[in-house]
């Protein structure tokens, strides 16, 4: 991969008093009319993303003439500050309820002060995507969301993940059970009480008990079980962003629970409310990809779709 343009190492202070570390990537001939794109760190991974996912994305965006900024949130990567959580799931959960909105707003302020940015696109994978949305709710200068695997649930329920599996996840689990029927190890687990009996039962129950079709009129239509771990901050933030004309690329990976969670815990129950804004959304599913888009063809597809979406928004082509 050939890095294009110029890159500079940056430190800046957040409004909370932490020193945050980042890199500013500028094209050889930046287009001042384009927004600055800020890529936000997912989970506890630092500013390059898992598998350096943000590196090819940054290169492609810089080639198009965008300035791209990546930085580490406090307590993560190279930045100062300490996180007190002892479990990853709790860190994720706190990200999902907006822990890093303040840091993101500080980054935007730094970009206003130092590169005269006045329009932004915020993007990121998973925790980075929800942070982008929760920031966009407060920052009207955010015109677009480049969302890779938006999470609409809360991770602290990871302690009891089986409780909140979507229909698609249950069906996938059932297929897995079928595949392992002839494996002695699977039977050993079953007979020695190591299996997840609740999940087995719920996945099989779907074959026996006919589910009522989900009403699409209101969020209440989703069952408590389905919405049990839904992030209550997501719908109001998303609708507020769409209402003021925000545009979003909603890219998902086919083999990632986040896609079915988005469909079952948000898109279906909120279908009516979502309908007026569908033209502002560009949804894309990368076939067979996993959560972090680890294989190179998946990464390439993500980059191509992101580029296509931005070309639609701004007409920015490769320099």
């Amino acid at each position: 991969m050939q890095q294009t343009g110029d890159v500079s190492a940056v430190t800046f202070s957040s409004s909370d008093g932490n020193t945050l570390f980042g890199t500013l990537h500028s094209p050889a001939r930046p287009r001042e009319d384009l927004p600055v794109i800020v890529l936000l760190s997912p989970g506890v991974k630092m500013r390059v993303g898992p598998g350096r996912l943000y590196v090819p994305l940054t290169d492609a965006l810089v080639e198009m003439g965008y300035r791209v900024f990546r930085f580490d949130f406090y307590g993560l990567g190279d930045s100062t500050g300490e996180l007190q959580e002892t479990l990853l799931a709790d860190v994720y959960n706190n990200i999902e309820v907006g822990r890093y909105v303040t840091d993101t707003r500080s980054a935007m302020q730094w970009l206003r002060d130092n590169v005269h940015a006045n329009k932004f696109i915020l993007g990121g994978l998973c925790g980075g995507a929800i942070t982008a949305l929760l920031t966009a709710e407060r920052e009207p200068e955010v015109e677009g969301l480049l969302s890779l695997g938006m999470t609409v649930t809360l991770a602290s329920n990871a302690a009891t993940p089986a409780k909140y599996l979507t229909r698609a996840q249950l069906d996938s689990r059932r297929q897995g059970y079928y595949r392992r029927l002839l494996q002695p190890k699977s039977w050993w687990r079953l007979l020695t009480f190591q299996s997840e009996y609740g999940v087995i039962w719920r996945s099989m129950k779907r074959l026996i008990v006919k589910e009522k079709p989900a009403t699409q009129a209101a969020p209440i239509a989703a069952t408590a079980e389905q919405r049990g771990n839904a992030n209550p901050l997501f719908p109001p933030a998303f609708f507020a962003f769409l209402k003021r004309g925000g545009r979003a690329l909603m890219l998902f990976s086919e083999k990632d629970r986040l896609q079915s969670e988005y469909e079952e815990k948000f898109a279906a129950p909120f279908a009516e409310q979502l309908r007026p804004y569908l033209s502002q959304l560009h949804q894309h599913v990368v076939a067979e990809a996993n959560h972090v888009l680890s294989f190179t063809p998946w990464q390439k597809e993500m980059v191509a779709v992101s580029r296509g979406w931005l070309e639609t928004l701004h007409g920015a082509k490769r320099a």
């Binding site: 430190t11 570390f21 630092m46 898992p50 990853l88």
Partner: protein, 298 residues
């Protein structure tokens, strides 16, 4: 303490580093930290940061940097090799020397493959000194990779797991993957492509041998084990014994270079053990006078 991010060059590569400079006058001994390969770097990142800060608080300058094809440095992992890693590490030593010219000795602290690369550079430099500040300096090897072949098999297993998770079956088995790399292609492991040069240079069973070493500095080999009760590893014991001043210690830590349930902001036991060992070797009467080491006349 100040922390300064910067880029430095290694031929046509652009490497990213962060220099942790202590308050006031720095100790004559500084460190370069050598990170592990691939996603292990990201999972262990904060452990490196906290250790660098602890060392800087004790007066040592520390340079953390990203190898080519990792982090914010340029390049792709598929194009790297043991030689490129070694050249990156040499460039990092040069960058530290340039920014902290008063430093007399530069030690290494490395984890996993990063530890192996550091050990190999220290050893080749002991035989043919071209970096005088490394001479006699402390060398800290956290869970180093000795058998590179076994290590790369472990990496390939990660590719197989991804295949299994997304396709429901293994489409390309281990032999196919290995053949693809040897034919000049690459194989993806958690987002990082592994190419022929890396596999053939690092994926060998004799990556780090237990033959007698020339590196004269105090050397700490740390076995990272999930519990205190875990058995001592014979290979690491032999590695420590191969150094004139080698010590083997065990630190009870989870494998923080992988995805595990706990959030690892620091590896407290590993860090304390390392700092305590450093205090001991620096205060030992037999410790080499730093001005001698720095002069390169030893």
């Amino acid at each position: 303490m100040t922390e300064t991010p910067f880029f430095f060059a290694r031929q046509d590569a652009r490497l990213f580093g962060i220099l942790h400079s202590p308050e006031g006058a720095a100790q004559p001994l500084a460190f370069v930290m050598s990170h592990p390969f691939g996603e292990e770097k990201l999972w262990s990142h904060r452990v490196f940061v906290s250790c660098a800060r602890a060392l800087a608080a004790r007066g040592h300058a520390v340079l953390r940097f990203d190898y080519c094809g990792a982090g914010d440095s340029s390049g792709m992992s598929a194009d790297t090799s043991l030689d490129s890693h070694r050249a990156d590490l040499v460039a990092a030593v040069g960058a530290l020397e340039q920014r902290m010219p008063a430093v007399q000795q530069i030690g290494f602290i490395g984890l996993r493959l990063g530890a192996s690369v550091a050990a190999l550079l220290a050893e080749s430099n002991a035989g043919q000194p071209s970096l005088p500040r490394l001479h006699g300096a402390p060398l800290v090897l956290w869970d180093p990779i000795l058998d590179g072949d076994a290590y790369f098999q472990e990496l390939l297993r990660s590719n197989l797991s991804t295949q299994l998770a997304v396709y429901g079956k293994v489409i390309d088995n281990r032999e196919v993957l290995t053949a693809r790399i040897r034919a000049g292609g690459s194989v993806n492991v958690d987002g990082y492509e592994i190419g022929k040069d890396l596999l053939e240079s690092c994926g060998v069973s004799t990556l780090l041998t237990t033959e007698s070493k020339q590196h004269a500095g105090p050397t700490l080999v740390v076995q990272i084990a999930a519990t205190e009760a875990q058995k001592e590893r014979a290979d690491l014991k032999a590695l420590a014994a191969s150094y004139p001043q080698g010590t083997l210690s065990r630190a009870a830590e989870q494998p923080f270079w992988r995805e595990i349930k706990p959030f690892y902001a620091r590896a407290s036991k590993l860090q304390e053990l390392t700092l305590r060992w450093l205090d001991e070797v620096l205060s030992a009467p037999a410790a080499m006078p730093l001005h001698t080491a720095a002069s390169g006349t030893e």
